[in-house]
């Protein structure tokens, strides 16, 4: 590896052009560390007064080479990496990864585990959408909703904590199931949450969704048409707000999503208001799914019967030779994995989150590529804000829910 070339860190900082000096067109740096960007990414805007003429993006500020890191780690050690993609809904990323590995090894997952996963993934979706929607509120100047719903997000984090011990970067579950069953304390907290949250959500909805000021600010801000969104590879709530009803949960059901009855909300204009409303309705539908899954939670084991991948209980490791061997093999990443290629996708907080895994039979993936929805749809941002005002650009950014961790991987 040769020495790095001379540093050119300041090369991209825009210099004053003649137009700027004439006082007609100004250059504005939105980011990389700016309260309005909610993450570390830079936008260099060319503005005429309030109006945006063009913009140029720089990404990669928190690039951590996850795809390279994954090529050196055994399968179970990749789960913590996935936490750090979209850190607003880490459980979905974790489960997506577990399911990818299970697809590769052909494991059969008990119905109970699948339902438990659905409950947690939908809780994570609610937490993700709550942040996004309340931050749209903040960017229009309404801080109340944000502080209010964060209490409920806290409750969801407590639920994660009850299952896996962690809150933000959860590393939840294992390949093949969960580390433990839902505890009595989880059931208590969960039922309390389920009772209280719908009221909070409606109250939050009442604050914003028919608020005249909020509507005036968000309607028509950062619109995109359905065709254009598909060209750009939009997925998730942002695509559905543009009127395309593509949802991985329905299109390629995983983890028993086909058992539940729910609606896919779609918007019309693809603007900030529609994105807000789609996320709002998705939270209600998520509650609906959670309710169905919890009421019909099947009896059974909380993990699959795959001793090659699922750690044996600790007591057995100390007292049983076979369990000790399995424990050692799993921890050292010595379990045989079939050769093959799989692509598995789940509906993450921002849409289709995919894992393309190539295995050569070794202890680590040969190649692992993440389909990060943010990275793909953030490209459309300049097109969406051209001709809009600066304040609309800020709103558009928060309503796209661009998460720096997922953007840069």
């Amino acid at each position: 590896m040769s020495k790095l070339k001379e540093e050119k860190r300041f090369e991209n900082i825009p210099s004053l052009s003649q137009e700027t000096i004439d006082g007609e067109i100004a250059t504005l740096n939105l980011g990389p560390t700016h309260p309005a960007t909610h993450g570390i990414f830079q936008n260099i805007l060319k503005v005429d007064g309030e109006k945006i003429l063009s913009s140029e993006q720089t990404v990669g500020y928190i690039h951590r080479a996850f795809e390279k890191l994954s090529e050196r780690r055994p399968y179970h050690q990749i789960t913590p990496i996935t936490d750090r993609l979209n850190y607003c809904s880490s459980p979905i990323n974790n489960m997506g990864w577990h399911m990818t590995v299970e697809k590769l090894i052909g494991a059969e997952i008990p119905k109970r585990v699948q339902y438990m996963r659905v409950i947690i993934m939908e809780l994570a979706r609610i937490a993700d959408h709550l942040i996004c929607n309340s931050v749209i509120g903040v960017d229009t100047g309404a801080l109340t909703g944000f502080t209010y719903v964060f209490q409920e997000r806290e409750k969801i984090y407590e639920l994660y904590e009850e299952i896996c011990g962690a809150r933000l970067t959860t590393n939840i579950g294992r390949i093949g199931g969960f580390e433990r069953d839902f505890t009595p304390e989880f059931h208590r907290k969960f039922q309390e949450f389920m009772k209280k949250f719908p009221k909070v959500l409606e109250e939050f909805d009442g604050l914003l969704s028919r608020n005249r000021i909020f509507m005036d600010r968000t309607k028509g801000a950062g619109p995109i048409s359905g065709e254009r969104a598909l060209e750009y590879g939009f997925v998730g709530p942002n695509l559905r707000a543009a009127g395309v009803d593509y949802d991985v949960r329905v299109m390629n059901p995983y983890s028993s999503y086909e058992d539940f009855d729910f609606i896919i909300p779609v918007g019309v204009n693809g603007d900030t208001y529609d994105r807000f409303m789609v996320r709002q309705e998705e939270m209600r539908q998520s509650m609906n799914i959670i309710k169905q899954a919890y009421e019909n939670l099947p009896e059974g084991d909380y993990h699959a019967d795959i001793p090659d991948f699922y750690l044996p209980p600790k007591e057995e490791v100390y007292n049983n030779m076979e369990a000790l061997i399995y424990h050692f093999k799993i921890v050292m990443g010595e379990t045989p994995v079939p050769v093959g290629e799989v692509y598995h996708s789940v509906e993450g907080g921002n849409g289709e989150l995919g894992y393309y895994l190539i295995s050569d039979g070794g202890r680590t993936p040969y190649r692992l590529q993440f389909r990060r929805p943010c990275f793909i749809y953030y490209q459309a941002y300049p097109e969406m804000i051209t001709g809009q005002t600066i304040s609309d650009a800020v709103l558009t950014l928060s309503s796209l829910n661009v998460i720096a961790g997922e953007l840069d991987a």
């Binding site: 590896m1 040769s2 790095l4 070339k5 001379e6 540093e7 050119k8 090369e11 990404v59 990669g60 690039h63 080479a65 795809e67 390279k68 890191l69 090529e71 050196r72 697809k103 598909l230 060209e231 750009y232 590879g233 395309v244 593509y246 299109m251 390629n252 050292m332 010595e334 093959g340 290629e341 799989v342 692509y343 996708s345 289709e352 995919g354 393309y356 190539i358 202890r363 040969y366 190649r367 590529q369 389909r371 990275f375 793909i376 749809y377 953030y378 490209q379 459309a380 840069d408 991987a409």
Partner: protein, 169 residues
């Protein structure tokens, strides 16, 4: 949803249209996986998108792979495509030698391929001919190597505690 699209039908139609350019089908994969001629990749993807029957019109993922042992075809670009109308997924691969890592860009078919191609260039050094702005995207501009190629090991070479030999590998 309209009528089902099956892999056989797609393969048959592609073969009828492009003949020799469809090099081979990989067996035992989770979706239809085809290796195609590198020069034709853009035409194939654009045809798949515009064919009224197939409508494979969503680019899910684009990325590179490095196979250092495969001489003459060390680098690959993998395209994941999805027909949302028929809910049909497929994967196209093109291979190339590391000495001449060039492939036509598909940015004029899918505008969303822009950053994904830049990322692939950044990681693997694959040049996409005709790309409007083929520069590094995630790594620093002054970097002079392509880090996801297999010759760059992740771990510090001087460390001994992680030597694979100690674990019988």
């Amino acid at each position: 949803m309209s009528k089902e699209l099956n892999p056989e039908l797609v393969l048959e139609k592609l073969k009828a249209q492009f003949g020799e350019s469809i090099i081979k089908q990989e067996e035992g994969s989770d979706m239809l996986t085809l290796e195609v001629a590198r020069e034709k990749i853009k035409e194939i993807i654009s045809w798949l998108k515009n064919d009224p029957e197939l409508q494979v019109s969503f680019l899910t993922l684009l990325g590179g792979v490095h196979y250092p042992k495969d001489e003459g075809r060390e680098l690959a670009v993998v395209y994941h495509l999805h027909s949302l109308i028929h809910n049909f997924r497929m994967r196209l691969k093109v291979f190339m030698s590391i000495g001449q890592p060039e492939v036509p860009t598909i940015t004029d078919v899918y505008v969303g391929a822009n950053w994904q191609e830049r990322e692939t260039f950044d990681f693997y050094g694959i040049r996409f001919k005709g790309h409007p702005n083929l520069t590094r995207i995630l790594n620093e501009d002054s970097m002079d190597y392509h880090p996801l190629r297999k010759e760059y090991h992740l771990e510090d070479g001087t460390r001994e505690d992680k030597d694979d030999r100690f674990f019988g590998r």
